[in-house]
């Protein structure tokens, strides 16, 4: 049994091939497959899950993800999400999902006002989603961030937390949420959230960059996120 991920390609996406490699090459032995879906298409085709990759769709002009959120393919994504299909937005993909209204809140300029590329740790809240099924509550994942607009804001973050929609928070390697571990000033240290139903997940760190041991000591913690979706897709 295989699980097929559709990886969206917008003009300007630049982590599309990286996400594709993670699901189509690195995790292939676990039954994972991936293929690219073009932004001008109107249907997703036969896929089990969708990934909106990172990068700079449309140069991130206006606001990160704003223009891509209006791509033709996004109607199909919205429909897929409404039907409970698993959707993962990574970095720019997270921004696109927020801009499209598939996830609440918004991502604004980092507190430092600079692009930040560095390793971060996130602690998992335990919220069950197709992408965290295999990850225990309190588990700490090391994944790098690379963004200039990753500061999560929400009109009522406490309510979001109470609703169980906070999936990942920036933390120390020991799993402690702290201001020092927060790389961008996100409210409550939020690194990733999901929609109410839990099938749409967005996060700023890049799991696809943390799948292969050979890459700059980046570790392999990102695998768990894709692997969760494999199990959920009925593979394993």
């Amino acid at each position: 049994m295989t699980t097929t991920f559709g990886v969206l390609r917008f003009p300007g996406s630049n982590c599309d091939d990286d996400a594709l490699r993670a699901v189509d090459v690195v995790l292939a032995p676990a039954g994972s497959r991936g293929r690219i879906i073009w932004h001008k298409d109107r249907s997703l085709g036969d896929v089990d899950a969708i990934i909106l990759p990172g990068g700079f769709s449309y140069g991130d002009y206006l606001r990160g993800g704003a223009i891509a959120a209006h791509s033709p393919i996004m109607d199909a994504v919205a429909e897929f999400a409404a039907g409970g299909g698993p959707v993962l937005g990574i970095c720019n993909g997270f921004q696109i999902l927020c801009e499209r209204g598939l996830l609440p809140g918004a991502l604004i300029r980092n507190e430092s006002l600079r692009f930040e590329c560095r390793d971060t740790h996130v602690v998992t809240s335990g919220r069950q989603t197709p992408f965290t099924r295999g990850i225990a509550a309190g588990a700490v994942l090391r994944m790098s961030i690379a963004h200039a607009e990753g500061r999560y804001v929400h009109p009522d973050p406490e309510a979001l937390w109470r609703a169980g929609q906070v999936v990942f928070r920036y933390a120390t390697p020991a799993g402690e949420v702290s201001a020092d571990a927060n790389p961008n000033g996100s409210v409550l240290g939020i690194a990733g959230i999901c929609n109410e139903a839990g099938n749409v997940v967005g996060l700023m760190p890049h799991p696809e960059r943390a799948c292969e041991a050979v890459l700059g000591g980046g570790g392999q913690d990102g695998r768990a996120i894709f692997e969760s979706a494999l199990a959920g897709g009925g593979a394993a």
Binding site: A66, H70, G105, N110, L113, R151, G185
Partner: protein, 93 residues
């Protein structure tokens, strides 16, 4: 017809860029500055002659694309036709 669109952060939303500018202005000797808020100023040139309609369309563009109403407010002004050109890009001190 020209529309001017002002997109500003909603009152409660943090403006790190504005804060940084205020801080730097203070350091540069502009201590009188008590607050800085930074937004966007968008000039739309439209093929439309009815000001009311132009305003309505521009507002729709804001709702749909130009502003993120989760965090931003917007305001649309239609430039009076006769003022055309009077308001070029000349810098002015």
């Amino acid at each position: 017809m020209k529309a001017r669109v002002y997109v500003t952060l909603k009152a409660g939303v943090l403006d790190p860029q504005g804060q940084a500018a205020k801080h730097t202005l203070g350091r540069l000797g502009y201590g009188e500055v008590e607050g800085v808020r930074i937004g966007k100023y968008i000039e739309l040139t439209m093929d439309e002659t009815d000001p009311a309609r132009a305003k309505e369309r521009a507002a729709a563009m804001c709702e749909g694309l130009l502003a993120n109403t989760v965090i931003e407010d917007y305001r649309v002004e239609i430039e009076p036709e006769d003022a055309d050109g009077a308001d070029g890009a000349a810098s002015e001190g």
